[in-house]
């Protein structure tokens, strides 16, 4: 990398190779950090690395991965969703009450909430509002609605959801299969389809997109609607695991989801996101959140702080690599 370029053509390609290498490194970072956390767990408690162990440890990884993907869509459009946590909680409450007792009403409510997300996208675009402000406001709305739906913890997940979430496929634990599936489906949709390129382009250079005749209103609405959709999936998956709901059940997901996206190689602005990275980031966070710390015999009182420390370390490593890229 330090070789002195001889002529400009060579310099161009050398610089490009260096950039490609740095990008590869950054792309591998989510996988590396996951491997690191797994190795630490294996070293601390070898028995955890088993079918049963993974099922247990990654139990909550699916809803976190879905919430992370949801957050990734808004971040792809240079926005941020601070309401995803309480939204997941709201969806959870609806799932544990209406969706079980009156499925049609429940489905209508959930579809309607996706529509609300789409409208938020339109509002943010048309009025040129900061998404942080709008979604922060919405987080209180979702929280309030969740308490209205389910004033006290309780309710029960629909049976079909419980069945899905407690699947025990042979050899490979269900959470791993689910995570793979989520990552691949979203990767195809966002990174491979022709409209996915437009969606990412809207984060990369919106002015260029508008000049080429694309509607930025539409891209924003689509991105927010996708966030709503994956938020709904996350809330349902969460209730499928916990079996009953609580209005505050998803509150921690907002920051987990943002951290997951960034850990997975995404950037806050510029439309640079990676679905597979985001899923890996979510898995890393889910593992680092409690299994690792429990195995390290860190008392529960300190786990939240330790979790933050792990986040800072991993994100700092990312910044170092990005800086090298420049």
């Amino acid at each position: 990398m330090t070789a002195t370029p001889i002529d400009t053509g060579f310099k161009g390609s050398a610089a490009r190779n260096a950039a490609a290498r740095a990008r590869l490194l950054r792309g591998l970072l989510p996988a590396l950090s996951l491997a690191l956390v797994l190795m630490a767990i294996a070293w601390l408690n070898p028995r955890a690395i088993s079918y049963f162990g993974f099922n247990l440890m990654l139990n909550l990884a699916i809803p976190i991965a879905l919430a992370t993907i949801a957050q990734m869509f808004v971040i792809a459009g240079n926005e941020l969703d601070l309401s995803i946590g309480t939204f997941v909680g709201f969806v959870g409450c609806v799932t544990a009450t209406w969706l079980k007792d009156a499925p049609l009403v429940g489905i209508a409510i959930l579809l309607g909430s996706i529509g609300v997300y789409a409208l938020l996208g339109a509002l943010i675009h048309l009025r040129n509002l900061p998404s942080i402000v709008v979604t922060l406001g919405m987080s209180f709305v979702w929280q309030g609605l969740a308490i209205l739906v389910l004033p006290k913890p309780g309710g029960k997940a629909p049976d079909w959801l419980l069945t899905i979430m407690s699947l025990k496929p042979p050899f490979i634990p269900f959470p791993i299969i689910a995570a793979l599936l989520i990552g691949l489906v979203v990767h195809f949709g966002l990174m491979r389809t022709s409209y996915g390129a437009i969606l990412r382009g809207s984060g990369g250079n919106p002015a260029a997109l508008r000049r080429a005749g694309w509607s930025l209103l539409k891209t924003k609405v689509v991105l927010f609607a996708l966030t709503g959709l994956f938020g709904v999936l996350s809330g349902m998956a969460l209730i499928g695991i916990t079996t009953s709901a609580d209005a505050n059940i998803g509150n921690g997901y907002t920051l987990l989801a943002i951290a997951g996206v960034i850990l997975g190689g995404g950037e806050f602005v510029g439309g640079r996101v990676s679905p597979i990275g985001a899923v890996l980031g979510a898995l890393t966070l889910a593992l680092a959140a409690s299994p690792l710390l429990t195995f390290m015999h860190i008392p529960p009182d300190w786990q939240v702080a330790a979790n933050g420390a792990i986040l800072i370390i991993v994100l700092a490593a990312r910044v170092l690599i990005s800086r090298k890229e420049r």
Binding site: T8, G9, G12, S13, A15, R16, A19, A20, R23, R192, S194, Y195, A197, I198, R200, G201, G203, G204, N205, A207, A208, L209, R210, R211, A212, G213, W214, G270, G271, R272
Partner: protein, 487 residues
């Protein structure tokens, strides 16, 4: 040839105002099939505004647009696309986070469905091969990883790709600004082939030789109007420069008496991209102008000098404290929540201190002194800075710099959008302060302001290309050097 009836585009009496500023004042412009029209003019002459209208991104306040002989009432970008008019904008309009193929897809709504990535890749690769043989760009490269020159190659090639819409006219706005001589030559040769096949081009360039050699017809704009339009063969460099700059003599501000002996050296700086030995030198008591087209490295040099004042840099020598008067006062100059007095005092906090705290009395005294001296029109210096008009805000920024201990004052085109009365007051103040021994480095885009300078460095592509003394300073000379063809 019946060109007049089948013009690809024709604008009649196009006018455009941005607030009180007239960007275009009744322009007639047309492009026929199979011709390359060169468009030249100084910064702010209205070229970009005109091209935004041709490509549909701006709608004229009055006047008509006709395409292929039909009047277009609701002309827009997508309409222009359908009618075969494309534009390569000066600022790059690629998405840096996408690959070359994906960026091609953005301009072609029809590239969709199964296998679109392969189709897009083949499309752009074929066009790149055609225009820039041995370009060394892969369709899967992420645009952000490419050098600026390669990005421009992609952008140009993309404009010439065709899927379902027709293609008749491509606007090239400074297409060679980031290309080296070799690739520029490839591009211009391709433009000639393109025009030869019956299509049309509009070529905007600050390299006059490029325009004269490649355009069939040249249109010269000045102050939002077309001032000359003729066959390219009827122009030569000098005629173009005269048409662009205006031949009216301008009045020198009253000649100042010869400068006293050259003072001690204050600044010696070489721009980062300077390859020959030219350097900027400024002595005590001098007003040095930085001229040339906007964005050709003047601001960069000022910022480098500013940085060199606090930390030594190679190729820079700065021997006295420095203050900077920002050009973009809203983003770089003003503290919006603060009072006028606080805004003035921020550069002089060390002197305003009383123990650990800022002394309000000293701050008020400093502000009061400069309010009188520079004439900031406000009832109370403790009002918020935004209570002032734009010109008075700029005065406050001058007061911040002049009220400080700085012996070197860097001015980054500070008089943008300031009324003439304020300007004249500030000019007087600058000259007065220079007589007292302060050094001014003054980047300006307004040629008249250079009359206040002792000598002027002209910049092009981040380099100093000329050093004009006070007596050899004319607008024509400056234009001549800033449009110089020397690579």
């Amino acid at each position: 040839m019946p060109q007049a009836i089948a013009d690809i585009i024709r604008l009649d009496g196009a006018e455009k105002h941005f607030g009180a500023v007239r960007a275009l004042g009744g322009v007639d412009f047309h492009v026929g099939p199979g011709e390359c029209v060169g468009l030249v003019g100084h910064n702010g002459a209205g070229k970009s505004t005109l091209m935004h209208m041709v490509s549909g991104t701006l709608v004229p306040d009055s006047g008509t647009i006709g395409v292929h002989g039909n009047a277009e009432a609701n002309y827009s970008v997508s309409r222009a696309q359908q009618l075969g008019i494309r534009c390569v904008f000066q600022e790059l309009s690629l998405c840096p986070n996408l690959s070359v193929a994906e960026n091609t897809r953005i301009n072609h709504a029809s590239l969709t469905g199964f296998g679109w990535r392969r189709k897009a890749a083949e499309l752009i690769t074929a066009k790149l091969d055609e225009i820039f043989p041995d370009h060394g760009i892969s369709a899967w490269d992420i645009v952000g990883d490419l050098s600026i020159g390669r990005r421009q190659m992609v952008e140009v090639a993309r404009a010439f790709t065709v899927t379902q819409d027709r293609l008749d006219l491509v606007i090239l706005d400074e297409p060679t600004s980031s290309l080296d001589a070799h690739t520029s030559g490839q591009l211009l040769a391709f433009v000639r082939r393109f025009v030869g096949s019956g299509k049309s081009c509009i070529l905007i360039s600050h390299v006059l030789g490029e325009v004269l050699r490649n355009a069939d017809r040249v249109v010269v704009m000045r102050d939002g109007k077309v001032v000359a339009a003729d066959a390219a063969s009827a122009f030569d460099r000098d005629r173009l420069v005269t048409a662009m700059g205006g031949a009216e003599g301008h009045h020198r501000s009253e000649a100042e008496t010869a400068k006293a002996e050259a003072g001690p050296l204050r600044v010696r700086a070489r721009p980062a991209r300077q390859e020959d030995g030219k350097e900027l030198m400024a002595r005590a008591g001098e007003i040095i102008g930085l001229a040339g087209l906007a964005g050709h490295g003047q601001t960069d040099l000022l910022l480098a000098i500013f940085a060199a004042a606090s930390r030594a840099r190679t190729g820079m020598e700065v021997t006295a404290p420095v203050a900077l008067v920002a050009g973009d006062r809203q983003s770089d100059g003003i503290f919006p929540q603060w009072s006028i007095a606080q805004n003035i005092g921020i550069r002089s906090l060390a002197r305003l201190r009383n123990g650990l705290l800022i002394s309000p009395q000293r701050e008020a005294a400093l502000a009061g002194f400069w309010q009188k001296k520079i004439g900031i029109r406000t009832p109370d210096m403790n009002h918020n800075i935004f209570s002032l008009s734009g010109g008075n805000q700029q005065k406050a920024l001058f007061a911040r710099a002049l009220g400080s201990d700085a012996e070197i004052v860097l001015m980054d085109d500070p008089m943008r959008g300031v009324d003439i009365g304020t300007k004249l007051e500030v000019y007087d103040l600058v000259r007065e302060e220079a007589r007292k021994g302060r050094t001014f480095l003054w980047y300006t885009t307004e040629t008249e302001e250079l009359d206040n300078c002792d000598h002027v460095y002209v910049f092009k592509n981040g380099r100093i290309v000329a050093n004009l003394g006070r007596d050899e300073l004319t607008e024509e000379k400056i234009i001549q050097s800033s449009f110089g063809d020397a690579a």
